[in-house]
């Protein structure tokens, strides 16, 4: 009985007696969710264009953030460093297309997937060689990102909103909206979907596969840069940041690998779900649920919608 009470009643009693903490948990979940959505977006863009799961997305986040900090450390003003980092991410996209993807056109997806492992290990080694393994502090002030918090008194307590989290949520929303419009309303967006369906068919109607791949890898690089700045501002920038890419996996399972809105909704569900789960039900199992709770949510969804919430249902003739 005691266990049933702790599972089904106590958390809701806690929500009722300390509503400020519930609001705080929801807020933390939403911020986390938006950031997960940003990472997931990087995966989605490349998956849509090539049908490949880009294993290198996590290290791209670290690489972009370290490049920005590294350039600034050389005395380059923050916004010039930001522009140069964008140029570096373009160069990376171009190199990936030229050196890795182009020779692999029409190869099975698994080959391309394995190639992204190669990109990952190259970027880890190259990044450590150039920037070292020391943690770096994100140049938040130089980029005019806010510091501190707003403590809002409400519901008999207070809710603390970190200004950087608010900025992260706003910037992530804008980024997602712009990319959604770009890829759904423009010619490039349609070309991208065509490439995702069939490389050969896309080539036959005159779509430049090379161009599309450079564009999506560049877009994924930009998303990685924004993600790196935001996550870096919340903690610091080190190679540990690469691990957070794993948090995007349940988001992708939930939202679908090909849907930009799916990445956002999936991110929010996972973010809020794992925070609520850890805060209210975590103590029942000794805590630390946030490392696996997201996967449980994703698995439950998978049972009912294998293609994810917004994923395209694949119907194959047999």
């Amino acid at each position: 009985m005691d266990l049933l009470y702790k599972i089904f009643l106590e958390p809701f009693v806690q929500m009722g007696t300390a509503p400020d903490l519930l609001v705080q948990t929801l807020w933390e979940g939403m911020v986390g969710g938006m950031l997960y959505a940003l990472i997931a977006l990087g995966f989605v863009l490349i998956f849509k264009a090539s049908g490949v799961f880009n294993f290198a997305q996590g290290i791209m986040v670290v690489f972009a953030a370290l490049t920005l900090i590294g350039l600034h450390a050389q005395g380059i003003p923050a916004f010039v460093a930001l522009a140069l980092t964008i140029a570096v991410m373009f160069a990376l996209a171009w190199s990936v297309e030229r050196i890795v993807l182009r020779p692999l056109v029409n190869q099975p997806d698994i080959i391309l997937f394995m190639a992204t492992f190669g990109i990952t290990y190259f970027l880890i080694g190259f990044g450590e060689l150039v920037f070292g393994g020391d943690p770096k502090t994100m140049i938040t002030e130089e980029l005019f990102l806010p510091k501190g918090s707003w403590d809002i008194k409400m519901l008999g307590g207070f809710v603390s909103l970190q200004k950087i989290d608010v900025a992260a949520a706003i910037i992530a929303s804008i980024m997602v909206a712009v990319l959604s419009v770009f890829f759904s309303k423009t010619r490039i967006g349609r070309a991208l979907r065509a490439v995702a369906d069939s490389h050969k068919a896309a080539l036959s109607v005159g779509i430049s596969l090379e161009q599309i791949w450079v564009i999506v890898w560049f877009a994924a690089g930009l998303v990685a840069l924004v993600t790196g700045i935001m996550w870096g501002a919340r903690s610091n920038v080190s190679f540990a940041l690469e691990i957070i890419a794993l948090k995007a996996l349940p988001v992708l399972i939930l939202g679908g690998f090909t849907s930009i809105p799916g990445a956002i909704v999936g991110g929010l569900i996972i973010g809020v779900g794992e925070k609520l789960g850890e805060f209210y039900w975590g103590p029942l199992v000794g805590g630390g649920t946030d490392s696996w709770f997201a996967f449980v949510i994703a698995l439950i969804f998978l049972m009912f919608r294998p293609q994810g919430l917004f994923g395209e249902k694949i119907i194959e003739r047999v």
Binding site: E128, D134, P135, F279
Partner: protein
Amino acid sequence: MNVRHLVFGVACGAMLGVTPLATTAVAQDSIYVPLLTYRTGPFANSGIPIANGMHDYLAMLNERDGGIGGVKLNIEECETGYDTKKGVECYESIKGKNPTVINPYSTGITLQLIPKAAVDKIPILSMAYGLSASAIGEKFPWIFNPPATYWDGLSMIFRYIGGKEGGLDRLRGKTVGFIFLESGYGREPIPLLEQFAKDYGFNVKLYSVAGKEMQDQSAQWLAVRRDRPAWMIMWGWGAMNPTAVKRAAETNYPMDKFIGIWWSGSEDDARPAGPGGKGYLTLNLHGVGANYPAIHDIVKHVVGKGKSQVDKSKVGENLYNRGVYNSVLSAEAIRNAQKITGKKVVNGADVRRGLETLNISEARWKELGLPEFAAPITAVSCADHNGHHAAYMQQWDGTKWVKVSDWIVPMKDKVRPLLEAAATDYVTKNTGWPKRSEACDKQS
């Protein structure tokens, strides 16, 4: 077959034949000290300064003194990435090269190497980490973990808390939070924490941080805000530490009630929190700063000559000095082994004896060029592979660590019986665990 191929084949054969001879020649002329380090991966921020400190002290002995007892040290790093699997691979790759002592620098790797050490006759030095119970020399003759175990560390933290509270009995009915990295390391002190909770009547709240959550921790600190623990204790590592200090500050948790173990006290752990990190406390085992003659020698002979990977401004930082301390223990054990055996080139079995007779008095610390650097190491023996030495509390003042307590001795009366029980339990669970056959030296 033409003559060219024949000549090429003979040359290759000759090279293959000569190479082992050359290796043996090197091995006979030097003392091999492998260092399992991690300069890459998610824990590199903690691993790099330690690796630099460990390497630079040994390199300084080579440059300044020509090694130890006139024998050069052959220092070789093997990158583990703080990954247990890679660490074991490193061990397997170096165990045939006559290593004198293995420094795993990871509790996970240490736990894997413990059963191998007795078989391969290679001593493991897990300095203030690893399996606390391996302090029992009777059960673990090849494992050493001076100067203090994690359980000693926890008991020292509670001594400090008791001092601030006006007695540990004042904790009755209060809550003590424990935030830890979800790993063998993080979970190591929990049995003693639960024992203390029973003894002193406080509640324990555990906040586990998985590797993937190291840079987030928002749910954990939200729970801290809900539970309002009177004290928070941290067993963190790598990116977990700076994030925890930042989150604690954001949660407005009183920083002078937040205490980390000695592995959570790097400058880079406290610095990123900015002014919010002021007041954060951690245990420390040794002095911080570069103002020691031995460290001046490191700068002169190693760093200044470009033979180190360290940035000069980081020499003397806490974890750099931790690495130096680790290498002092290795070097003193080698020196002891030379003294006991009368041999110049010692092996693992000799250094095991050297570790069992380790004695670094206050005067010896001074001789080493590290006056008052650490508490004297006087209690390591055949029976006690740890010694349960003292540590002190340091506090972050916003820019640097400041010593805020005298040396705190661990609660040996509480810790030792629990260690003995844990050692017996370990041996019972590992069927066929070998009985100690190694004799004890007189000095121990």
